[in-house]
């Protein structure tokens, strides 16, 4: 089992390296760089050249990438060109904001998603199945930012129940923080929740048609016992795979939602940094996102081992 885990970790690190290279490459392809932008109208070529040299932006792409990578190993994610502050402490605050919101959305979408998925799979074709599937279909079809706009119009502008914008630190004012978090979390969760319902449903349906469920029924067990002890335990494996994918979907959702609700999270920082050509901050954000997604997949792979005995002792027979 440990050998299986070590293999997965090694693979994850490799993927992470490729992730950072891809993002650095894309940023390199984008025309214009932070310096022109920073100096604005007063810029003169000499000033721009001086600033570029100081930030060693004039070195070739590969050299800069490996300097950044070298810094990474020393734990320093480089300094932001735009905010001329170390990327780490810019990211730390923003990271917390995005994680708090993303985590809440993940919990909602996972818990509610799986329960609804199972309910609709169990009484396939029944009233509940149709209702849940219908709303799940709508859920994945609603564009996140449009839903956000609808929520703002409805709850903030018309009914004035929830605040329109902003983000306050929970330590400062917990009640306002929760009120501000309600809409963004729901908007992020809707997409993830709906795809979770649909995929849980198909995973459970797939498992129900297996032979060992027929054996369980033949043994005379009650439907409920069959569902919990046999069906769900086996359906857990595809559902876990799904969980790994959810993180990626959530991050996508967060990027959009943070822009609408003006939440100073990592999503908005990333979008601004891309437009500001702030390469080091973009690298930092994508690195963190990559790490989280890869760790999530790693946890999923490892948890396979506990759920499915077949994977425990993987023997690589050629």
């Amino acid at each position: 089992m440990t050998q299986y885990i070590v293999k997965k970790i090694f693979q994850a690190l490799l993927v992470l390296l490729i992730v950072t290279f891809i993002s650095y490459l894309i940023m390199e392809l984008i025309p214009g760089d932070a310096v022109d932008f920073l100096l604005g109208l007063e810029a003169t070529p000499e000033k721009a050249a001086a600033l570029r040299a100081s930030l060693n932006l004039d070195k070739p792409f590969i050299v800069r990438y490996f300097m950044w990578l070298g810094g990474l190993f020393r734990g320093d994610m480089g300094t932001s060109i735009f905010y001329n502050d170390s990327v780490t402490n810019i990211l730390v605050k923003k990271l917390l904001v995005t994680f708090r919101m993303g985590f809440a959305a993940l919990i909602i979408s996972t818990v509610v998603g799986i329960t609804l998925g199972v309910v609709s799979a169990v009484n396939r074709g029944g009233f509940w199945d149709n209702l849940i599937s219908f709303f799940a279909n709508i859920g994945i079809s609603i564009p996140a930012f449009w839903l956000g706009i609808l929520f703002i119009i409805l709850f903030a502008v018309k009914m004035k129940v929830l605040p329109v914008q902003g983000y306050t630190d929970p330590s400062a004012d917990f009640w306002l923080h929760t009120k501000q978090m309600v809409m963004p979390v729901i908007v992020t969760a809707v997409g993830a929740l709906s795809s979770m319902v649909r995929q849980t449903r198909s995973a459970v349906l797939e498992t129900i048609s297996q032979d060992y469920v027929r054996t369980a029924r033949e043994k005379g067990l009650r439907e409920r016992a069959i569902l919990i002890k046999h069906v769900l335990r086996n359906a857990l494996i595809p559902i876990l795979t799904l969980l790994g994918m959810q993180i990626r979907v959530l991050f996508g959702g967060v990027v959009i939602v943070e822009n609408i609700f003006a939440i100073p999270g990592m999503g908005r920082l990333l979008v601004n940094s891309v437009f500001n050509r702030d390469i080091t901050v973009v690298q930092g954000c994508i690195l963190i996102m990559g790490i989280v997604v890869i760790i999530a997949n790693l946890l999923v792979d490892v948890s396979y081992g506990f759920v499915d005995p077949r994977i425990r002792e993987i023997k690589d027979v050629a």
């Binding site: 490729i18 079809s141 449009w146 706009i149 996508g252 990559g290």
Partner: protein, 281 residues
């Protein structure tokens, strides 16, 4: 191949699928015959009745430059469909070929392609599309490339799984025994048998592509400003949400309805092409 008659009959059996087919038909008709259906020229400005409320003359009112929203929506259907289909083609073809090669040859080729796909999968699609879009600059073609390329990993993963499972089938082994070359086995045996999952992924991705166009234009990267596209209309309308909410709500509603129709149609298609379920339809 399924006989044509049963194809239609099954399609119509579930009324939700029927409804979605009608919606898609409407969407395609609007897109194809846009110039004929539009009451006004979507680009014609009429500054005096800027942000005019819905009236008989302008069924859905006017936008912030006095242009008729109804005709912009109809023309927008054309842009959204164009972008969705082209990016599907780009993503689909590239993804399928890479997935096919990775799945069939395995070994180093497979590891390289799959690790690259994992890496691209680790970055959310919207961020990937944003990066590519900004790199290429703002134009309709670039937008299509951005959405297409960022959807490639999904196709690769689906196609590789499909190829690996098909490769071990007996009829592929028999193709080798007959003496077919690798390429013939791939395009003559493995690809045709992966068509149904490919179509299903494509339809569901179609919805995703339209939403991506909308989100990207929201982030300021959509089609050139004057060309009406639903996503741009929603993001431009967002500025005047209090004074004229309809500016954002209507195009948003159109996006949702079309994407919903494609998703339901995709589900119906998958159930129909899956022999196990076909019986009970």
């Amino acid at each position: 191949m399924m006989k044509k008659g049963s194809f239609i009959r099954v399609l119509v059996s579930r009324w939700t699928v029927l409804l979605s087919v009608i919606l898609i038909a409407l969407f395609i008709i609007a897109a194809v015959f846009a110039p004929l259906l539009m009451p006004y020229d979507p680009l014609a400005m009429d500054l005096p009745n800027r942000l005019a409320a819905p009236s008989l003359k302008h069924l859905l009112g006017c936008d912030l430059m006095g242009r008729d929203i109804m005709s912009r929506i109809i023309y927008g259907a054309r842009t959204s469909m164009l972008i969705a289909f082209v990016s599907i083609i780009i993503g689909g073809i590239a993804g399928t070929l890479l997935g096919l090669v990775a799945g069939y040859f395995g070994g180093v080729v497979d590891t390289v392609i799959m690790r690259l796909t994992d890496a691209m999968m680790a970055i959310p699609q919207i961020v990937l599309a944003l990066g590519i879009g900004v790199a290429l600059g703002r134009s309709t073609l670039n937008l299509m490339i951005a959405i297409g390329v960022s959807s490639v990993p999904a196709y690769i993963r689906m196609m590789r799984g499909q190829t690996v499972s098909t490769k071990n089938q007996m009829y592929v082994l028999s193709a080798n025994v007959i003496g077919c070359s690798d390429s013939r086995v791939m395009y003559r045996h493995i690809l045709p048998n992966s068509i149904s999952p490919l179509i299903v992924t494509a339809t569901i991705n179609l919805g995703g592509a339209i939403m991506a166009e909308a989100s990207l234009s929201y982030l300021g990267l959509g089609v050139p400003p004057e060309i009406p596209a639903w996503g741009t209309m929603v993001s431009d309308g967002f500025q005047y949400i209090e004074t004229a909410p309809m500016l954002s709500v209507i195009p948003g509603l159109c996006i949702m309805l079309v994407v919903l129709a494609f998703n339901i149609f995709g589900d119906g298609l998958r159930d129909m092409l899956d022999p196990r379920v076909r019986g009970s339809l």
